[in-house]
Each structure stands twice: as structure tokens, then as C-alpha cells.
């Protein structure tokens, strides 16, 4: 027997039989795997039972069930699904009257692409990240072709991340007035191109500052030292200075005070003694005032140094910061006492000014007194001389 099976004639017969039987089964299998049909939701969809014209009656099944969505079957065996909705999606199979599988189709329903809603983020001068959302949900897989160009220049491709529906432009020509982006969405039902125009210099919005740290300043119950670092996405280069906006308020207060600074650290001079404060920082490109402020950092709580029995040390400037102070809320200045609640050591300048003013007044008064005294002395002297002359005159013989 093994000898018979291995004979060339028998092998040829087996090969011929397998070759002649293969197509019918394989066709169905490949159809089952490959034949995906896409249809437009809310319209009529026609499914054909294979390629050949079928003259016998066919039976259609939907996901192995004989219950079909609203439909009709044409005389040539085509299944027409009427005004389809999502429930009509799935696996369709047609069988002949003997129950033999003739054809299988996977039906996916959706819409052709519509215009996209494209938005771009510009976290620094070297990166533009654009992402998009469908204005019409298509329910179908899509491909995107994205390109961009500066005003009056050629189109350049933008590398697409399909899964995240976004593309990145590295090192754009930033100093051009207008850029145009072209996003073409293509799915099985059609294609649509969306054009967007944007101004990079207006979209520029840094990431928030990082490593925010708020510390008390030993010996100063109304000061807080705020330090931070540049956003890591921002280039650390002289050409790209940032302006920082710091806002702070005592816990429970509704009103923010604010200061602006170009460098870290900055000192808050008018914190409310003995109270916790919330401090936040944001950043903006210092050169381009049309650009946007970053988001605020998370609130950093901090409390100024508290006085117990230690007297305040001599006023010394620890920081030579170039902070531009602009307090939105008018500060209520209080007399300087040892009571930590009312200690007003923040207004050193004012105190110096008052002292100087007192010195001026005192000097003026002293000068006046001196002048009056000199005048009086002079008058006495003159009177004395007058008297002497009179005496002399009296003693003179007439």
C-alpha cells in the first residue's frame, strides 16, 4: 500500500483531485476574510451573493441569524438593506437552497469624511503640533495626508501620527505672517480636504514654568521668595526671553495680587503675615506681546516666616531682583510694631523717605533758629555800638 501511494501516478491523481476541489472551498474562505463592503448610513445598501449570476433561490443570514434588518431580496439573489442604521452592520452570508455557503460579506457602515476641526499648539519657536477632530463622525477607518506651507511658498509634508490624529512640524519658518495647513481625510466612502490658516506668532503659548518653589525669608514676616525654572520645552537661549507673571493671595481671599518678573527668584514683599498663601506662575514670550500666556502652574501653598520673640533684624537687601511690582489690590500700610500681625517691614523705602523728610524739616527749622539767633545777636551788637556812640557823643564837648 505505501508503495502504491507513493507511486507517481497516484500522487498526480491526488494532486489533480485536490486542485480541482480547492477553488470552491478556498473562494468562500477568502471571501469570508477579504470581502468587506462599506455602506453609507441612512441609505440603501445592496449586497451581492458573490460574483456570478445566481438563478436559484438564495437564503441570507446576518451574523448567523435568519433575522435580517429591513430588506428586500432581488430576483438575482441580491440583498437590499433599506435605510440602514448601525444595527445593520456585521457579517452577511448567502446560501443556496441546499444550505451550501455561497458568499460572505462583512458590512461596515458610516459616512464619508466631512470638514475637520484643526487646532495647532505652538509651545516654542521650533515646534508646531496640529491635531484634528472630525466635525462629522464617520465611524470608518481613515487615512490622512497633511501638508503645510508659509505664505506664498511650496507645500511641505507634515509627519502624521494617525492613531493620535496629529502631525508635528519641526523647525517651521516661524517668522512668516501666515501658514496654511491642508489636511485630506480619505475613507472608503470618500475624501475631504480641510484648509486652515494660522499665525504662528499668535499661537505661540509656552508650557507652564516648572519646579516652582515658594519659601519664607528668615526674619521677614511679610516676604515670600518664589523661584521656578523655564518650561523644559522652551529653548534656554538669550534669543528667547520669557516674562513671568506671579499671582498670590492669602488662603480664603478672593483677590489676587500680582508681580511680573523676567528672572527667578522673585520676592513677594506684601504677603499677609501669619497666613498661608496660594502662589501661581505663568509665562509668556517676552518679545512678542501678541503671543499667549501659558497655563498657570498648580497652586503652591506657602506661609511667610513668623515672628515669635525674635526682634526683626536690620533691613538688608538680600535680593537685587529686577522685579516690576504692580499690586492690583491697594495695600493697607500699617504702623510698624512688634506685633507680627501688623509689622510692616515691607515698606522700607517709605520709612527711609519719611526719615529723610524729617531730617529736611529739622534742618530747615534749625537753620531758621540759627538765622534768628544771629539776627538777634547782631541787633544786640548794633544796640551796644549805638549806645557806645551815644555815650561818646555825650562826652564830646559842644
Amino acid at each position: 500500500m505505501p508503495g502504491l501511494l507513493s507511486s507517481p501516478v497516484c500522487l498526480t491523481v491526488i494532486w489533480f483531485l485536490s486542485w480541482s476541489l480547492r477553488p470552491s472551498c478556498a473562494q468562500i474562505q477568502s471571501d469570508e476574510v477579504l470581502d468587506i463592503q462599506y455602506g453609507h448610513l441612512e441609505s440603501n445598501v445592496t449586497l451581492a451573493c458573490g460574483q456570478s449570476q445566481i438563478r436559484t433561490t438564495v437564503v441570507w443570514r446576518h451574523n448567523q441569524s435568519s433575522v435580517l434588518p429591513w430588506h428586500t431580496v432581488t430576483s438575482d439573489g441580491r440583498l437590499v438593506l433599506l435605510h440602514v442604521d448601525h444595527s445593520a452592520q456585521g457579517h452577511y452570508s448567502c446560501y443556496d437552497d441546499r444550505g451550501l455557503l455561497l458568499h460572505s460579506i462583512s458590512l461596515r457602515l458610516g459616512y464619508p469624511p466631512g470638514l475637520l476641526s484643526v487646532s495647532c499648539q505652538v509651545p516654542n519657536h521650533t515646534l508646531v503640533r496640529c491635531s484634528w477632530e472630525e466635525s462629522v463622525r464617520t465611524f470608518l477607518p481613515a487615512q490622512y495626508d497633511v501638508s503645510y506651507r508659509g505664505n506664498g511658498h511650496e507645500w511641505r509634508p507634515c509627519v502624521v501620527d494617525v492613531a493620535r490624529r496629529r502631525c508635528d512640524i519641526d523647525h517651521p519658518s516661524f517668522w512668516q505672517t501666515i501658514h496654511t495647513m491642508r489636511v485630506t481625510e480619505t475613507n472608503a466612502l470618500g475624501s475631504e480636504t480641510t484648509y486652515v490658516r494660522f499665525k504662528l506668532h499668535e499661537l505661540l503659548k509656552p508650557d507652564p514654568p516648572e519646579s516652582v518653589l515658594v519659601k519664607e525669608l528668615q526674619g521677614y514676616p511679610r516676604r515670600l521668595v518664589v523661584s521656578w525654572s523655564f518650561p523644559s520645552s522652551w529653548p534656554q537661549h538669550d534669543a528667547f526671553p520669557l516674562l513671568f507673571h506671579i499671582r498670590y493671595k492669602p488662603q480664603g481671599s478672593m483677590y489676587w495680587s500680582e508681580i511680573f518678573s523676567k528672572e527667578s527668584p522673585a520676592v513677594i514683599f506684601d504677603a499677609l503675615a501669619g497666613h498661608f498663601h496660594h502662589i501661581q506662575i505663568r509665562a509668556r514670550d517676552d518679545v512678542n506681546s501678541d503671543s499667549q500666556w501659558s497655563e498657570w502652574t498648580l497652586s503652591s501653598p506657602a506661609k511667610p516666616w513668623e515672628v515669635f520673640t525674635t526682634p526683626e533684624p536690620e533691613e538688608e537687601e538680600f535680593f537685587t531682583d529686577d522685579v516690576v511690582v504692580s499690586i492690583t489690590k491697594p495695600e493697607t500700610s500699617t504702623a510698624k510694631t512688634y506685633n507680627p500681625e501688623f509689622e510692616d517691614e515691607g515698606n522700607l523705602g517709605l520709612v527711609i523717605l519719611l526719615v529723610l523728610f524729617s531730617v529736611v524739616i529739622l534742618t530747615t527749622v534749625l537753620s531758621l533758629i540759627f538765622v534768628v539767633w544771629v539776627r538777634q545777636r547782631r541787633r544786640d551788637h548794633v544796640t551796644k555800638q549805638e549806645l557806645t556812640s551815644m555815650v561818646k557823643m555825650k562826652s564830646m564837648p559842644i
Binding site: 505664505n151 512668516q176 505672517t177 534669543a239 544771629v374 547782631r378
Partner: protein
């Protein structure tokens, strides 16, 4: 001879008498009530003036002057754009000979060379000067309200060009041959003037932005040369 002295005599008279009877000394100066008062006040003011005057400031370098003047121009441009807002995303692209900005990227700013950059900026500014002078002429014809500010801008631009030229001479940067501007034909309508003005200002604002950053970058290099 009787010498009488009126007690109600004015200070001038008193001073006269004092001068007559006192020897000339340092005291005699103090006797003048008005001058002594003034002297005391001045003395008292001395510490105030000392404190009020800022710490002897570092003289701004030429590059500082250049960057400050550029910032000033940028502000003027922004003011003009704001005051004569013309909201349009579509630019007519009338000016074909404006300095090319598409080839300037952020990375280039890190690798700028002093002399070629100064020369290029000078040539660019001269080109803008031509364009703005043209715009000024056209705006005058159409009685555009932006004319006074445009005149001020051109003046500031010339000042920046002069500063830059001085700096170029100092570092021996060559002067590039002037480019020929291709200006649009005569503008018939007020709308065309508005559009052109908007386009030119938008371009110039971005140019100033780049130029300012370039001056910031070049500052250490310029100090090293001088």
C-alpha cells in the same frame, strides 16, 4: 551825628548794616538769611539726592541701543496694527521684494555670525525703509489717518539704520549692495491702501521680532570684537 536804626527795617537793610559793621568772614555769608536758608536746605537735600539717584548705571552698549530701538519700532508697528485693525487672514501678497523670512528658523539664531548678520539686517532695514516711504506717500494721497505714526516710524527706522551702520563700521562689517524694491502699482482705492499697510506692518513686526532676537544673540559677540 546820630545813627538811628529802624526796628521795622527790611532784611536788606539789616544785612547792609551787618556788612557795614562786621568784618568779612565765613559768618558774614551765613548772615544772609535767604542764602543761609538755601544753603541749609541744599545740605539737607544732599543725602536725599544721593539716595534718589540710581546706582551708577552701566552705559548701554551699542548692541543694547540697537535692540532697544528695534523694540521701540516693534511697539510702534503693533500700535499701528491695533489702531488701524484690518482683520484678514488672507494676505494679498503684494510686496514681492520684502526681506525673505521663510529661511530664518529658531535654530539659526543660535549660530548667527556677527558681521554677515549685521550687514543683512542693514540691507533688510533699508528695503523696509523704501517700502514704508512708499506707503507713507500713498497714505498721504488717500489721507489715511495713520500718516503721523507712519512718519514717526520712518524716523525711528532711519535712526535704527544709522545706529546699525555705526556698529557695522566699528566691527568692519561690509555694506551689502542695495536691493531694488518692487513696489505695487498705484493704489486706486482706500481699501488697497489699508490692505497694503496691513501686509507691510505684519511683515515688519515679524522682522523686528527676529531682528531683536538677533541683536540679543549677537551682543556677546559684539562685545568680544570691540
Amino acid at each position: 551825628m546820630t545813627l538811628t536804626l529802624d526796628s521795622s527795617a527790611k532784611s536788606g537793610a539789616i544785612v547792609y548794616v551787618m556788612v557795614q559793621y562786621l568784618p568779612l568772614s565765613a559768618d558774614s555769608l551765613l548772615l544772609d538769611s535767604s542764602s543761609s536758608l538755601l544753603f541749609s536746605l541744599l545740605l539737607a537735600q544732599l543725602p536725599v539726592f544721593t539716595l534718589a539717584s540710581p546706582v551708577p548705571q552701566r552705559r548701554p552698549s551699542d548692541m543694547d541701543k540697537l535692540s532697544n530701538q528695534t523694540k521701540n519700532l516693534m511697539k510702534l508697528t503693533q500700535d499701528l496694527l491695533r489702531e488701524h485693525a484690518f482683520d484678514s487672514d488672507v494676505e494679498p501678497h503684494r510686496f514681492r521684494s520684502l526681506p525673505e523670512m521663510s529661511n530664518r528658523s529658531a535654530n539659526d539664531l543660535s549660530n548667527l555670525e556677527l558681521k554677515p548678520t549685521l550687514s543683512q539686517l542693514h540691507a533688510d532695514l533699508k528695503l523696509y525703509e523704501h517700502h514704508f516711504e512708499w506707503l507713507n506717500k500713498v497714505s498721504k494721497k488717500h489721507h489715511h489717518p495713520a500718516v503721523p505714526k507712519l512718519v514717526e516710524m520712518i524716523r525711528e527706522m532711519k535712526s535704527l539704520i544709522n545706529l546699525l551702520h555705526r556698529q557695522m563700521l566699528r566691527v568692519e562689517a561690509p555694506r551689502l549692495p542695495p536691493a531694488t524694491p518692487s513696489l505695487p502699482p498705484h493704489l486706486t482705492y482706500q481699501f488697497d491702501v489699508l490692505q497694503s499697510s496691513h501686509e507691510l506692518l505684519q511683515h515688519f513686526k515679524l522682522f523686528c521680532d527676529w531682528a531683536y532676537r538677533a541683536f540679543l544673540t549677537l551682543k556677546p559677540k559684539a562685545s568680544a570684537v570691540q
